[in-house]
């Protein structure tokens, strides 16, 4: 059984009058179990020569539904103005749903989230020649 861990620290000495220091660590298990996630895409890099609109980054059809998959994405650029917009596309499952914006990753920004494998993850870019890295750690 593979053992994979994720640790996050949020810190600031001056955001509030009380210093911020939050640490969280979790071991990545299959849904509802204590069995470690055992598959990964590895760290993948994508370069978009042209600006993209609602381009599928991660296709849900390639992953099992209701999994405890984990998704990491980083904008590896350095621009403070160019960004990747991350979106969830649930339109295939429910006509009442839409492509929903989550947030934007500017240069150096990253995200880490659990992902059930039911909805595609899409990206929209603001410029040409933008690069990102992502990795999925998942279960069958």
């Amino acid at each position: 059984m593979a053992t994979t861990t994720a640790s996050l620290t949020l810190s600031s000495s001056d955001l509030t009058s009380d210093s911020l220091s939050i640490s969280a660590t979790s071991t990545l298990y299959k849904a509802g179990t204590t069995i470690g996630l055992d598959q990964t895409t590895g760290l993948t890099k994508k370069v978009y020569a042209t600006a993209q609109t609602n381009t599928v980054l991660v296709a849900a059809s390639a992953y099992s539904d209701n999994g405890a998959h984990k998704l990491y994405i980083k904008n590896v650029g350095s621009s403070s103005t160019d960004a990747f917009s991350l979106e969830i596309d649930a339109t295939g499952l429910n006509a009442a749903c839409a492509v929903v914006p989550i947030g934007k990753l500017y240069g150096g920004d990253f995200l880490y989230l659990p992902w059930e494998g039911e909805y595609d993850i899409q990206i929209t870019t603001t410029a040409t020649d933008m690069e990102l890295e992502y990795m999925i750690i998942y279960e069958a």
Partner: protein, 133 residues
Amino acid sequence: MATTTASLTISSSDISSDAISISVTETFHKAGTTIGLDQTTGMARKTFAAASSNQNIALASAYTDDKAHKLFVRNPGTSTTDHITVVIASGHSVIGKLYGGEFLFIPWSGNEDIDVTTSATNMSVEYMIISEA
């Protein structure tokens, strides 16, 4: 100007033949700038006595749209079967499930509400938003 950072490490020695060891750090800036985010909710905690659906933790109308807000959510429990489902846009889109001890960290544009649904009684959720006007 406030300086706030997030550091993430993902590591495994045995998920593949090549060990994974990813460490990244980012500094939080206002959208399209190098000015630090300067507002926060602090770490909030809610406990739900009963299993509850679509309980709001981030109300989009209270935040400016299309900004570089950050959202941290954690299930502080220890159960490997009970979970918190994090959803966006009034339940239409599930982001994912947080089992005991799990967390997420995402940029949040402030355009859509973030809600949680708990799978059992007496579950808690911790969350924090770091934001800009």
